[in-house]
């Protein structure tokens, strides 16, 4: 304990020293208090600026709509019954379909990539770096890059026209295709990394054993590699599905008005429509869908991967 107050001659350090000793002496036999001293500041912040906001948002979702945004006092379930209207159910359905399609495409593309990287020997760290790099690149910049490629006067169209393959530009931007392409491009690393992690842990002697026992390559993959990498694949699916479900920026910039997803619906209610209760209700429903997906994942997850993703 010596160096804290020892060198200074004034009484000030000695006093803090005394306080520190008393505080530590009080905490020593109290492990719960020790833990909560460390937890308190961050926990209070998260309660104040995550939990309470969500609770206030829920409260807003069951209150009558205010005339100029905001809410009036009272209680009504109007926002939730409004959600049952076909227009909004279609948005829900579309969001779900796009999230599922993104997840399937990411799995189909990401699994082979992860498999190759896991078996690439000395190339491994370079390839892994190439997968991680886009993850660190601004999502907004990457989405803009997609616009730059896909718009009518964009690079793909102008190259195809210059090459004589196309007469007129094909419309890619503001279609469901653009949104899907943007989401797959955005979230593919989330699939590759967990699949890679589970393939990398796979014991090669299991494959050798299967080979000795006469399993052909296809059977070895189907009966050994695939089941053992399933936890990574399932985790990857969750990591892609969740942000796709709640995506806002991709559909906002790459999709047209016809490609509205829940995230955009929520934002519209607060910006242009000024229906805060309905926006809060949509937002709450989105949150429940995401937490539902996580709960399904926790059920699916095999018990041996109890910790971490």
């Amino acid at each position: 304990m010596g160096n804290a107050g020892g060198s200074a001659g004034t009484s000030e350090p000695a006093r803090t020293h005394g306080f520190r000793r008393r505080a530590l002496a009080w905490l020593a036999p109290r492990p719960q208090a020790q833990a909560w001293t460390l937890l308190a500041p961050g926990t209070l912040w998260m309660i104040g600026f995550f939990l309470i906001p969500v609770v206030v948002m829920c409260a807003y979702s069951v209150m009558p709509r205010g005339e100029y945004g905001g809410v009036d006092p009272g209680f009504t379930l109007e926002a939730y019954t409004r959600f049952l209207h076909p227009v909004y159910l279609t948005i829900l359905e579309r969001t779900f379909a796009i999230a599922v399609a993104t997840t399937v495409l990411c799995a189909l593309a990401g699994y082979p990539v992860a498999y190759t990287i896991a078996r690439s020997g000395r190339w491994r760290s370079l390839l892994l770096f190439l997968v991680v790099l886009p993850f660190w690149t601004s999502f907004l910049v990457r989405t803009f890059a997609m616009i730059f490629l896909m718009r009518d006067t964009g690079l793909i169209n102008s190259w195809l026209m210059a090459a004589g393959i196309l007469r007129e530009p094909i419309t890619m931007l503001y279609t469901p295709f653009a949104v899907l392409a943007g989401l797959v491009y955005g979230y593919l690393p989330f699939m590759v990394l967990p699949v890679y992690a589970s393939l990398e842990k796979l014991d090669p002697s299991l494959l050798e054993a299967a080979e000795v026992l006469g399993a052909r390559p296809a059977a070895r993959f189907r009966r050994v590699t695939l089941p053992l990498s399933a936890p990574g694949l399932i985790a990857g699916c969750l990591l892609v599905f969740i942000p796709s479900l709640g995506s806002f920026l991709t559909s906002d910039l790459l999709g047209g008005a016809k490609e509205l997803l829940i995230g955009n619906l929520v934002q519209n209610q607060f910006s242009t429509a000024r229906n805060w209760p309905f926006g809060s209700a949509a937002s709450f429903i989105l949150m429940l869908l995401v937490l539902g997906a996580v709960l399904i994942y926790l059920r699916l997850r095999p018990p041996d991967s109890a910790r971490g993703w």
């Binding site: 961050g42 912040w45 190759t116 078996r119 690439s120 996580v294």
Partner: protein, 266 residues
């Protein structure tokens, strides 16, 4: 690893992987290349220029936005790293009631869609009549960064040798001295990567920021978004390129630093 090698894999698999990795980088590479193109209409290459970068310097809104983003990023990172590291220490080094539940709850903000987090904060700030501006942006950024800091620092603490801390305590150091002289120096690389992650998350955030920013204060992503919305001039390519370069430098620096401090066994 002697048995594995890229040569043993089926050709089509290697080709497919190469194509995927190429496509993952193509859009940004094209974006960067065309930031040096002199044509305003950006589709054909008409000559090399730095003009779009010079144009950026003339735009006050961009310079202000960079300043705002740096203020927000640095402040939010500092607060989030402090709060998150304390939580991580409690989770990794202390037993307390409800620890498993607490650890699970830490993932709820991570999986919650940004639009939900942003809307709920907006509703709270309006409810409390807090004026929207840099302060509300910083509050929001800290809230979404803390859980990420916790996850990164907990991972680092899990790989650390607790015996060193116990040895220091046995030799008469109290908890605080042990923390500053043993735990913190060993934990530094973890804290650094947590800080980098928090800073990049903050610097890059558009969705939450756009909801809690109000009209007066714009961070860089907000300005870029309005540029993308309004038009297509190659200045966006230039600013995007600068962001990509800045991020790469940060990543490289943090990788170097954490490697230098890494104990031999980790």
């Amino acid at each position: 690893m002697g048995t594995s090698g890229i040569g043993k894999l089926p050709r089509w698999l290697v080709a497919f992987t190469a194509a995927c990795l190429f496509l993952m980088h193509l859009p940004v590479l094209v974006l960067v290349a065309f930031s040096f193109n002199s044509s305003k209409f950006a589709v054909t290459w008409t000559g090399f220029t730095f003009g779009w970068y010079r144009r950026l310097l003339e735009r006050d809104d961009i310079l202000h936005a960079v300043q705002a983003s740096l203020i927000v990023g640095v402040t939010a990172t500092a607060i989030a790293v402090a709060l998150g590291t304390l939580i991580a220490l409690a989770l990794a080094r202390h037993r307390f009631r409800g620890r498993t539940v607490y650890e699970g709850m830490m993932y709820v903000p991570i999986v919650t869609p940004e639009i939900v987090t942003g809307i709920s904060l907006l509703v709270l700030f309006v409810f409390l009549r807090l004026p929207l501006g840099l302060t509300t942006i910083i509050i929001a950024h800290v809230a979404f960064c803390v859980p990420f800091v916790v996850v990164v620092v907990v991972a680092r603490l899990a790989g650390m040798d607790e015996n060193l801390e116990e040895a220091a305590m046995t030799l008469g150091a109290d908890e605080i001295t042990t923390f500053f002289r043993i735990t913190l120096p060993l934990l530094w690389p973890g804290i650094l990567s947590a800080a980098l992650l928090a800073f990049i998350l903050s610097f890059d955030d558009f969705v939450i920021t756009s909801l809690v920013a109000g009209s007066g204060s714009s961070t860089l992503p907000l300005v870029i978004y309005s540029m993308v919305r309004r038009n297509v001039e190659p200045s966006i390519n230039a600013i995007s390129t600068l962001i990509v370069i800045a991020t790469s430098i940060l990543l490289y620096a943090s990788d170097r630093m954490s490697r230098r401090n890494e104990p031999a066994n980790a």
